[in-house]
Amino acid sequence: MPERHIQTAIRSRNRMTRRAALGLFALPFAGIVPSTVEAKPLRIVCLDDGLAETLLTLGVNPVAIAGRDVWENWVVEPPLPPEIADVGTLLEPNLELLQQLAPDIILSMPYLDGIKPLLERVAPVTTIGLYTEAGQPYQRAIEATRQLAKLVGKETEGEALITATDAYFSEVRRELAPLSARPIYIVSFLDPRNVRVYGRKSLFQEVFDRIGLRNAWAGETNYWGFSTVGIDGLATSSDARLAYLEPLPEGAGGTLTESPVWNAMPFVRNRSIIRLPAVLMFGALPSATRFARVLAKAMTGEAARG
């Protein structure tokens, strides 16, 4: 699993773990000289999970994030070190706690512009938008990676992450080439009847473009890159596969199998359903890599089973 090496290798700049040491042997960018360790690391509070996962992959622990439980259920990887504090909910991070954590900088997103004046009283705020009206979250994730890498003085690691992610996509593209003829829907279940289907302007679409897969959903999406439709809205393509992301909402799993509409859907009849573990749909490069990896693993596993 090369992408794990990306993370661990980058982290090994600071701490040499056994896993990281093993990873070094397979480094696609092994020639990089470790940079000198700074005297006093920047204290960063990161309110966007996509930015936080990028920081962690660059080997920098933020002081705090918003909502550890959201991370555990929706981001999963990279695992969150226990020393990272939780400042509460995304919409109302606890300001008293923030102040006591004494951060040097707060990383925020446009969604939180409403509370920016409050955050600015604690520390300077840098707003980085991965998801905007303009779309192209992958390009924005690359820019955000460079910006963050510069901020924490890890430009080489940042470039390495960008190159490694790209290289990994080429690898997955080769791996999946025999399976790329059929289009795929990527959905999250909202309830047994309705799904959120990802399309244009979503991170998943950008990964699809890079690993040579075709999205079966060509319809409208909002600026977060998804559309809410009933399951029967997915019946238009007869040879499509369906990949759905965990976690499932309460009660969605059991009732599906009994529904005649579900059972008549082309992808159910062809047994072309792929179950994927949780991947942050509003993430950055690490989420893109994770998505490509879990999808490739599920598709090749399915192909191997026949």
């Binding site: 909502g67 959201v70 929706w74 504090a85 939780d86 400042v87 509460g88 909910t89 995304l90 919409l91 109302e92 991070p93 606890n94 300001l95 008293e96 706690l97 102040q99 006591q100 954590l101 446009p110 969604y111 512009d113 409403g114 509370i115 004046p117 409050l118 009283r121 009206e133 999250s188 909202l190 309830d191 047994p192 009847r193 309705n194 959120r196 909002n222 977060w224 809410t228 439709v229 009933g230 399951i231 029967d232 809205g233 019946a235 909402p249 309460e250 009660g251 009994e258 529904s259 005649p260 509409v261 579900w262 008549a264 859907m265 082309p266 749909m281």
Partner: protein, 659 residues
Amino acid sequence: MLGKQPAAAILLCAVLSAAAAAATASNLTVQLPSALWLQSLTAPDIDDMRQVLVHYAFLPRLTVSLLCGAALGLAGTVLQQVLRNPLASPETVGVSAGAYLALALATLLAPSLLAYGREWVALAGAFVAISAVFALSWHKGLSPLSVVLAGLVVSLYAGAVGAALIVLRHEWLTSLFIWGAGSLGQQDWTTTLWLLPRIGAAALVIGLMVRPLTLLGLDDEGARSLGVPLGVYRFAGLAASVALIAFVVAAVGVVGFVGLAAASLARIGGARRLSQRLVMAPLIGAALLWAADQAVQLATRAQGDLLPTGAITALLGAPLLLWLLPRLALGLEIPALTEERLPRTGRPGLVLATIGLSLLLLLGLALLYGPGPDGWTFAFGDQLQPLLSWRWPRVSAALAAGAMLALAGLMMQRLTGNPMASPEVLGISAGAALGMMVALFSLDDAGRPAQTAAATVGAFAALLVTLAMGRRAAYAPERLLLAGVALTALFDALILVLTATGDPRAVKLLNWLTGSTYGVDAGAALLTGAIAFCLLLLAPLFLRWLDMLPLGSSAVQSLGVDVPKTRLLVLLMVAALTAASTLIVGPLTFIGLMAPHLTRRLGLARALPQAAGAVLVGALIMVAADWIGRTVIFPRQVPAGLVATLIGGPMLMWLLRRR
């Protein structure tokens, strides 16, 4: 034997059905060529996805819409008959909201309960809700207005608890209960087959009771003299209609206003006798929901359940309620019995001083004591300064908002002579929230100033609407209250539609709706404080009127007071107080309902001591709610308005309990 036929109602039913049938044909043609319709109905070809969708999605949805519409129309008619209240309906007496909340709670907290049957959970919630409504409106003799107001309060309360679930679990990435908004979407016939026997049984029970139910419409003396055991039939009728509503909610969620519309339209359409209404109302209800659902499908076409039909019917229901008001004979309001045997203190000064002292103590606690990274601490010296800069704006905003809302509530209750009157039923809070919604969804990055401006505009627009509707009736309190109820219902429906789309901005709106002081900075706190100070200074000018108004309009008039002008001035004052506080703590203004009652219980009866006491109590409760909200699940926070509502609801029930 046959009375006059309800010609208008039959005509209406026919027109609605024709429109629905046309829309159905249009929707069906898009899905499947007409040559295959019969085949897909009787023996669908499972290899043809179009036929599968028609047979297992389109047709069951159509059937469910008919069944639910009929059930709601029937339930509405029986409720109106049993409660002798032309405004009673599944939605207005809080039953739907109660059933929905019970299901939502069970789904999230104890899914195993649902294994025993969704209907039992829904029934339990529906009965709790209607018991609460009875308890709240009992001492007004279950008069039409007080039942509807109590129903609104119960619905608001259920809504607040529902919002708390969403905000606290902060599932901004997942669905916000699409089904709860009355999505009729189906994927097989199970819901239809589940509903059919249950609705049939309840309808049969009601059918067997037509004669006793008719007698219930008479006054109690007349019915009793005919030897009818009133209590038994009243309970049986109520149970059957509540069961019908619970089944519908368990199957498809809350379908707004169909029950009220069907029952009222049948009555207005000429169905005078109960037996006629029991036939016409379900027919109109079925036609109404069928037409509404087909229209929604026509508008969205393969957009899934993006527009939940139940929320759309609620949107249409609010204007309908406004249209109905002048056409219904509501009967006379029973004069308030609030001056019953409640204690009166001989020393109001002492009571006020005690409340004031408690407020001071609490203020100290709220400013100095709280949890941090190292546990609970009193902040001193150097630590205090930074913490205080966060805490004082929130505490002072809560203080000002609580005081203003309590005064507004007191004025509303004295103006209307109705103990269930509170600022939110005037529609002002709903207007402010609508303004906020527009700002959040139309401006890309609406900052706090833009949001505040939009909410202010909304609040005053709502006030204008309410006043315009009350003007003809010389600002008669009951018309104003009902107009407010309609506005509030309209707003709730909009919120449901928006949250059902799963747009992340809807969560921001929910967050504000639950009444958080989070975003209050020094400037906002000072401004609110200044407004509160000025308005409280004006309050003594109203005291004489507030002492007189509960005596009733004719008595006040005989004292030489211009009643319409007085009412208008009091309303403007209430509106200013409500708008200023809603902007800070959101539209959950339960405190305005509760503080005056609590003060009265403490023995403060005349306008001056009661007003002073209510202001202090309102401030006390709101500061306490904010402090609890900030500390109880640190570092997360529960919005102050929500805490006040969660504490205040049970407290209010206790205060207004049947005596």
